[in-house]
């Protein structure tokens, strides 16, 4: 009898975790842009892994920083070698939660507020940004824009190129996720 109750309890626990509604994507998008009068710097990564848990109101994404592609090859080289040091810190990731109500079985656009930890170049910082979640059929599309300051992430910019790199870099994240 005891054994049975124990098992039932376990089953109950397991089922509650299984029920968690998770949406994932393996081809999320992160783009960043730095605009100065001297130079525009733009890069895109279209191999971002994203997970959104609508039950727990949590979300996470991760990507390889080498996956950021630049139009200018030398810029990409400098990004990897001198700034982001991708051999040493290969991944950029975010883990956070959101506030705001999303009805996953009702089509619509929901405004949410995301707060979490962004880890980049071996440094973790808290980021808070408004975002939207769009429910369309089975697909849950998340999108947000925020700014990061390279200095916050211990990315040193030499005086010689300081005028070519913006103090604040615009980052846009977008991912169309499907139920796991």
């Amino acid at each position: 009898m005891m054994e049975l109750i124990k098992r039932l309890l376990l089953l109950l626990l397991c089922s509650s975790t299984l029920k968690a509604q998770q949406f994932t994507s393996r081809n999320g998008y992160i783009g960043f842009f730095s605009g100065t009068p001297l130079e525009d710097i733009k890069a895109e990564n279209k191999q971002v892994y994203v997970i959104i848990d609508t039950d727990k109101k949590q979300l996470a994404f991760t990507c390889l920083v080498k996956g950021f592609l630049f139009k200018k090859q030398l810029m990409q080289q400098h990004f990897n070698e001198n700034y982001i040091e991708s051999d040493q810190y290969p991944k950029a990731s975010f883990l956070g939660s959101y506030t705001g109500d999303v009805t996953i079985n009702k089509k619509g656009t929901y405004a949410i507020q995301v707060t979490g930890q962004l880890t980049l170049h071996g440094v973790t910082k808290t980021i808070t940004a408004p975002a939207t979640l769009v429910v369309n059929g089975q697909t849950l599309t998340g999108e947000t824009m925020f700014k990061v300051n390279p200095a916050d992430f211990n990315i040193a910019i030499p005086a010689l190129v300081r005028d070519k790199i913006a103090k604040q870099i615009d980052v846009r994240v977008q991912a169309a996720c499907n139920p796991k």
Binding site: L9, A60, G67, K72, S93
Partner: protein, 295 residues
């Protein structure tokens, strides 16, 4: 009843721990799946410049990028104070290289030594990739053509005889973010050599590497030698060079010390007349600047 209670308590603890641990487990799961499904990425930037000192590196100019390079060698240090340790006179080479695709580049250059023009083609064959390819390999072809004036005593010196060819296999490995080494087995062919005893075709090897001391500064060294004794009419020495790379945005400055006067393969491989022991050392620099034609 006690067992029921304990099992309930453990379950509760488990539940709480999963709820707390959920955060990291979600990201861990993502990271695991990222690591498991992403193929290894190519190792790039074995060298900062297209030259280690004299020898060309496996690195090609980027796609739709034009590189302008000034290579400059002052006179011998052994010239002494009278000639300001060689700074009074200099040899120079201007070069333009253009990347057609990510792996194919073409270039032209002109050296003051022998008033020589050169043209080159570099094609990347293999790219170093962890677990798949241990080295990056390119082929490099260079044609050099001297234009010093036709002398009366050498009326035979036509265009063909002024030309030499260099074919190289560039084999490089980036061992880690600091250390990269390259070997370049080379075949040289001179259409004209000074005497019958000299060979027209000769095999050579160029070996070099870089060690990064900071993110933007590296120490380079290079040693080039000929196989056998193909040159008999003059004393040819192996070329030994050392240098310092300083990278600043679109420029790479290379400060060099070398015992070779010329800056293209036929010269530093087969016409190195000085030695370090006698102080036939040339101080100089390579400066490159890239221009992008991508939007």
């Amino acid at each position: 009843m006690k067992t029921l209670f304990t099992s309930f308590a453990t379950s509760l603890v488990l539940l709480c721990s999963t709820a707390n641990g959920q955060d990291n487990s979600m990201l861990d799961m993502l990271n695991d799946s990222l690591t498991a499904t992403t193929p290894p990425m190519a190792v790039t930037s074995a060298f900062k410049a297209t030259q280690i000192i004299n020898m060309v590196t496996v690195e090609a100019v980027g796609k739709r990028t034009l590189q302008f390079i000034i290579m400059h060698r002052f006179g011998e240090l052994s010239d002494g104070a009278y000639a300001l340790f060689g700074l009074d006179n200099a040899e120079i080479r201007f070069g333009l290289d253009y990347g057609i695709t990510r792996g194919i580049s073409v270039g032209v250059g002109r050296s003051s030594l022998d008033k020589a023009y050169d043209a080159n083609l570099k094609i990347k064959l293999l790219q170093q990739t962890p677990g798949r390819m241990p080295v990056s390999v390119s082929v490099y072809g260079l044609l050099t053509h001297t234009t010093f004036p036709l002398k009366n005593e050498k009326p035979f010196l036509n265009a063909r005889l002024r030309t030499a060819y260099t074919s190289q296999l560039l084999i490089a490995r980036k061992f880690n973010s600091r250390l990269s080494l390259q070997l370049s087995p080379t075949l040289l062919h001179f259409n004209l050599v000074p005497s019958l005893a000299d060979k027209n075709t000769m095999a050579a090897m160029a070996a070099g590497g870089r060690f990064k001391v900071t993110k933007r500064i590296s120490i380079n060294a290079e040693y080039d030698w000929l196989f056998g004794n193909p040159v008999t009419s003059y004393k040819q020495y192996p070329s030994l060079s050392t240098g310092l790379d300083i990278e600043t945005g679109g420029h790479v400055f290379q400060l060099v010390f070398t015992n070779s006067r010329g800056m293209t393969a036929p010269y530093y491989l087969a016409k190195t007349l000085g030695t370090w022991q006698k102080g036939n050392i040339y101080f100089g620099f390579n400066v490159s600047r890239v221009f992008n034609f991508n939007k």
